[in-house]
Symmetry: D2
């Protein structure tokens, strides 16, 4: 992805670009991709009846991360007002999706990989939200 080149040439980016912002954006789109494919892969499995909740939460997580990836792509730093609750909520849905995917990880590799991607995105959102708390103090 060209995220670093795009954000670093935004006119509002004063001084050094926070690499964690670039990482967060890329983790979010990775999560959209992984959850979308995991939902479709679950749907194609023989035991689709046991994967209903996994499909539903993957679709939810993809929808939240789609919006979040676009919103953070309109930021040049983490200290934007209103970003903290969005990041915390996004971390929550990524966590819930990872937990559900992990339940099926032993049987379906796509669920295992999707859980990993969700956890990575959860951590990136959580770290970003935490940095925001620190910045306010």
């Amino acid at each position: 992805m060209h995220t670093h080149e795009m954000i670093s040439t935004h006119p509002a980016v004063g001084g050094a670009l926070d690499p964690a912002l670039v990482e967060l954006i890329e983790d979010l789109f990775d999560c959209v991709q992984a959850c979308t494919t995991c939902a479709d892969a679950c749907l194609a499995e023989d035991d689709v009846g046991a994967l209903r909740e996994c499909i539903r939460i993957c679709l939810d997580c993809a929808d939240v991360c789609t919006g979040m990836g676009r919103i953070v792509s309109r930021r040049v730093s983490f200290d934007a007002p209103g970003l903290k609750p969005l990041l915390e909520t996004c971390a929550e849905i990524c966590h819930a999706c990872a937990v559900e995917c992990d339940r099926h990880a032993a049987h379906h590799v796509h669920c295992r990989v999707s859980a990993e991607v969700c956890r990575r995105c959860e951590q990136a959102c959580g770290t970003a939200a935490g940095a925001l708390t620190a910045a306010v103090l």
Copy 2:
């Protein structure tokens, strides 16, 4: 991104995974990211009044590529029915966005990078749509 790991573990992927499919998906999400940031960066420029059309088409392109990236993430090969017109239309909007961004490339680096990402996505969509034609013959 974990696109290759996700698609290659989908139960419907028979035999070898087409690397062009993985490349296409990643180009699409790259284009969502680049166009979203370019629109916001244009909005922050002093000459925003001259960048209205660039902002609008970047938002359009981001919306089309968001849908397309999700749709192709639900495919394991290019020979899915109905994919060809979607890919051709996506290539068209990416082309139009690249042309508009290029008009501002000399003054704004984000427009130059965004144009590059759009052209790459246009080519990936066009190649995929072309492969579909060949597959039907």
Copy 3:
């Protein structure tokens, strides 16, 4: 929805607002809603195994109509360049989704309603695309 109030107060709307544009936008968001619920309702049915293709195409249709609804919300008339191929492609996916939903309409009311909403959206897109052809001649 407040679509008419929103579009009619856009500074670029010269003279009378085309009511078909307002109707199209509302049909598109109705289609996003119906297809999203239909996919989830199919997923909850006992015969989910027979509804896989219906779920997949409902998700595709919702993704295309989400983008299209947003794009047309950035227009004040149909004669915008580049709109015609987008509308034609959207009509195609709505048609394909309606055909698939209709296959299950006898057993599931949500599939019957979703098919109706898709056909209405298909017609709105087709009429709009046709108006564009006429405008060019």
Copy 4:
């Protein structure tokens, strides 16, 4: 919109359908529509330079409500786990968008209407989140 027909025929809807759920879904898509048009209308205004923040937050609000509208379209009641923080966050962004749009309401009718739609959506999200608290006690 056909929201009531769609949700009421979902196999998981036990007994009476909560009309507030249908209302919430329709308010969310109305908000996507209004904020998307308001951003474009602001972009077309002569004083676009003074409307940058309004455009940005309208795009953010449209992205959050797009995801939220799709997520709630996959629910048949408010007591779904994980819904409360999403609704609260959505209410926050709708509130922030309404406040910003209101700042320009005297000069631009689209900002006034958009603010009204945002506030209505904020209230629908807040009422839904409040109902969730009550349900837990």
